[in-house]
């Protein structure tokens, strides 16, 4: 077991000792702060039509724990789902494959490392939730168990299971990040959506990995008892509502745990182990098809190379080579950047993108603009996240940083290439808005494209990695499809003050651009 402990420790330290993780923690603290909205907020995190909970210890503790469970399960998956890929990229995997460690031992250590990373983040939300109690609640006594118990019973088993899912998707879907995203979102939606219509029964409790049903059931029981009502429709998650309605207050003191619920938590922990065990039976041990295919290519190629290498002794006489002219334009860069974007990832993704693109032509405008456009842009996440990081990933930064005026030529070309893809993908909506003479929407789409591309470039440059942008982009897209105006970067949600909205997006674009150029300027001279 000693070696497993060492792998977990090394993996955990490697993941957490990065700027990206620090920024993730900062975002986590902000998100945890938003779990307990002030009374004047235009959103709710636990929505009960016509009712509102009194901010006592149980309410703040349970709602924070539940929001942490659901939200961290969702985006935490994307945070931890590249542990094996990292070993493939760094070729540490090849060393691992030659050691005595079993597949199960290796995957178990990765799985527990995933869990520890999520647990660390959960620890921060736990502390913030206690702080939020003292900030928002007035007069209620602070009961520590109202915070500890829900985090222990809701969040821990759920995060345990999510950590195992991250392992399974990496084993079965390997490096296909988009496919992993789609599979996970589908599964996530299936779990949450499937429970929504189910009656409160033991089987529903057991199937509820997040424990949402138990919590919402308890709250609705309280409302129905207190007001003799028949409330069933309680939802979790950020729900934005601009229309303030009158509401009644509910005093709720927490969940009465049942044996079935406690059993269900153990079942999900057991299932987490089972998923890892099953994955270990199919684990490629770094000898997957892709590598085999590449090796085949190399082998064929090696023979060819041997044939030509020593055939004749060619020489290079610099004075006899054709003279070149100075050419400081950025068109060749844009061409290469577009080539790299297009050749990135598999062809099947282009079919999905084509389908969504055609869908944007025919779908009702609110769906096309509010859902399909954010989704089709999100499908570029792995392409855009590489815009400003691929030189470092491919160790080409020595060339780019020592080139002639890299900041004035290279970085703008990367931004423009990203922008061109964003605009081409948004063309159906742009044309439809233009035909409808909706210049405001057209402008917003353009500035939104600039924003999302600049965000990729800026976060890539600052964090030296792709993960932060990928997680943030996922969260933005998710919240945007829920009509969250706070993340509306492309004008898909109505805003009261158009001028202010435009100014904010333009200001953010300017900030991102200035930060990107400043930091890259520093990096280019400080290798």
């Amino acid at each position: 077991m000693k070696y497993i402990y060492n792998i977990i420790k090394a993996d955990y330290l490697q993941r957490t000792r990065s700027y990206a993780f620090l920024i993730t923690l900062a975002v986590t603290i902000y998100v945890a702060y938003s779990f307990v909205p002030p009374p004047t907020a235009n959103y709710t995190t636990l929505t009960m039509p016509g009712y509102k909970g009194v901010y006592n210890s149980a309410w703040v503790g349970y709602v924070s724990a539940m929001m942490t469970t659901v939200m961290l399960s969702m985006w935490g998956f994307f945070l931890v789902n590249s542990g094996i890929k990292k070993d493939i990229d760094t070729e540490v995997g090849l060393i691992v494959a030659t050691t005595r460690i079993t597949n199960l031992g290796y995957l178990l250590s990765k799985f527990l490392s995933n869990f520890l990373v999520l647990l660390t983040i959960m620890g921060f939300t736990f502390v913030v939730s206690i702080a939020m109690f003292f900030l928002r609640a007035s007069g209620s006594p602070h009961i520590l168990s109202d915070f500890v118990v829900p985090y222990l019973l809701f969040a821990l088993p759920a995060l345990f299971f999510i950590s195992s899912l991250a392992i399974a998707t990496e084993v079965f879907l390997r490096d296909k990040l988009i496919l992993q995203c789609i599979a996970f979102i589908f599964l996530f939606g299936f779990i949450l959506g499937g429970l929504h219509g189910m009656p409160n029964s033991n089987s529903a409790v057991i199937m509820d990995v997040f424990g949402v049903k138990t919590l919402t059931g308890s709250i609705s029981d309280q409302i129905n008892t207190q007001y003799h009502a028949e409330v069933k429709d309680i939802s979790m998650g950020f729900i934005f509502n601009h229309h303030k309605k009158a509401y009644k207050t509910v005093v709720w003191n927490g969940v009465s745990w049942t044996n079935v619920f406690l059993l269900s938590r153990l079942v999900w922990i057991f299932l987490g182990f089972a998923v890892v065990y099953i994955s270990s039976l199919f684990f490629h041990r770094f000898d997957f098809k892709h590598a085999t295919r590449n090796r085949k290519k190399k082998a064929e190629f090696g023979e060819l190379a041997t044939e030509v290498v020593y055939k004749e002794s060619a020489t290079i006489n610099l004075s006899k080579l054709p003279k070149l002219l100075p050419d400081y334009g950025i068109i060749p860069f844009i061409k290469t950047e577009l080539l790299l974007l297009i050749r990135r990832r598999s062809k099947w993704l282009w079919f999905i993108i084509a389908a969504v693109w055609v869908g944007m032509i025919f779908a009702p405008m609110d769906i096309a603009y509010g859902i399909l456009l954010p989704v089709i842009w999100f499908l570029q996440v792995t392409r855009w996240s590489e815009l400003a990081t691929k030189e470092k990933t491919n160790q080409l930064h020595y060339f780019t940083y020592s080139s002639y005026k890299p900041l004035q030529r290279m970085l703008p070309a990367q931004i423009l290439a990203g922008l061109i893809t964003a605009v081409v993908l948004a063309l159906p909506i742009i044309v439809r808005c233009a035909i409808a003479l909706n210049g405001y929407a057209v402008f917003n789409i353009f500035s939104g494209a600039v924003f999302i591309v600049l965000l990729a470039v800026c976060l890539g440059i600052i964090s030296n990695g792709k993960k932060l942008y990928e997680i943030l982009f996922f969260m933005i897209t998710y919240l945007l499809t829920q009509k969250g105006d706070i993340v509306d970067y492309l004008g898909a949600v109505p805003h009261n003050n158009h001028a202010l909205y435009i100014c904010i997006i333009l200001g953010l674009n300017l900030l991102l651009a200035v930060t990107s150029f400043t930091v890259r300027n520093y990096q280019a001279r400080h290798l």
Binding site: G302, L324, T336, L340, N394, Y398, R525
Partner: protein, 289 residues
Amino acid sequence: MSLVIKNLTKQYDKQKTGLSDYSVTIEKGILGLLGPNGAGKSTLMKIIATISKPTQGTVFLDGEDIVNNPDYIRRILGYLPQDFGVYPNLNAYEFLEYIAALKGVGGAGLRQRIEMLLEGVNLTADAKRPIGTYSGGMKQRIGIAQALLNDPKILIFDEPTVGLDPEERVRFRQLISDLADDCIIILSSHIVSDIETIADEVAIMKNGRLLDKAIQPEIISHADGKVFETLIDSGDLNVIKAKHLIINTTRQKDKTKVRYIIKNQEPEPSSIPATATLEDAYLFLTQNA
């Protein structure tokens, strides 16, 4: 053309010093950098290649300060880093076109120049394959081609022969020698024989400091009269190790032939003096520094 480096210091943090008060003048020809790991060779090269700023000191190319005006050297710079990479999805033509754009060169002759360079590094037959499928040696050769793309006057090669097979190494040495008439070439290598064969001058470094820089005979003269060879019983090796600096050992059945440098003691009985080489001088200087 001359590159004047004055009092260069690179301090990464309180503990780690890359270069320490390093001064050297480099003229046309080949300068070979020798030094153990952490000697500061790559740091020096990065600073000249303008991708790292010194903490103190200046670098002048023909009187122009390239620390403050990096674009002055970038136009005529060819740089082959130690751990460079490629975009695996591009083929050799696309990659070199991209590098040409980085270097700010183009025009009608670009395609032909790329073809001639690829021919020169024996990659023509494979030029349309994605570079991701290349072997290590082939990638190294594409790296050499990119360094020569812009008609460079300053060439910096950091461990250029890594990954090349023996014949390719010979070809590379020949190529470097041919280029040396018009350019300043700075070359680092752990393989002393590479430097010995082609470098006009050698700079020996350790712990970020310059131990010596001179033409090869002068460097070698440091070890003159100090190198000996002897045949001993294998069991006696540790006795010699304790007294002298071992250069190499060769097993010959139950005996071992030892080549060593004397420190402050007399040579072993029955030893015969040997002609000093660059490797002997390098080890002598770095061990005694």
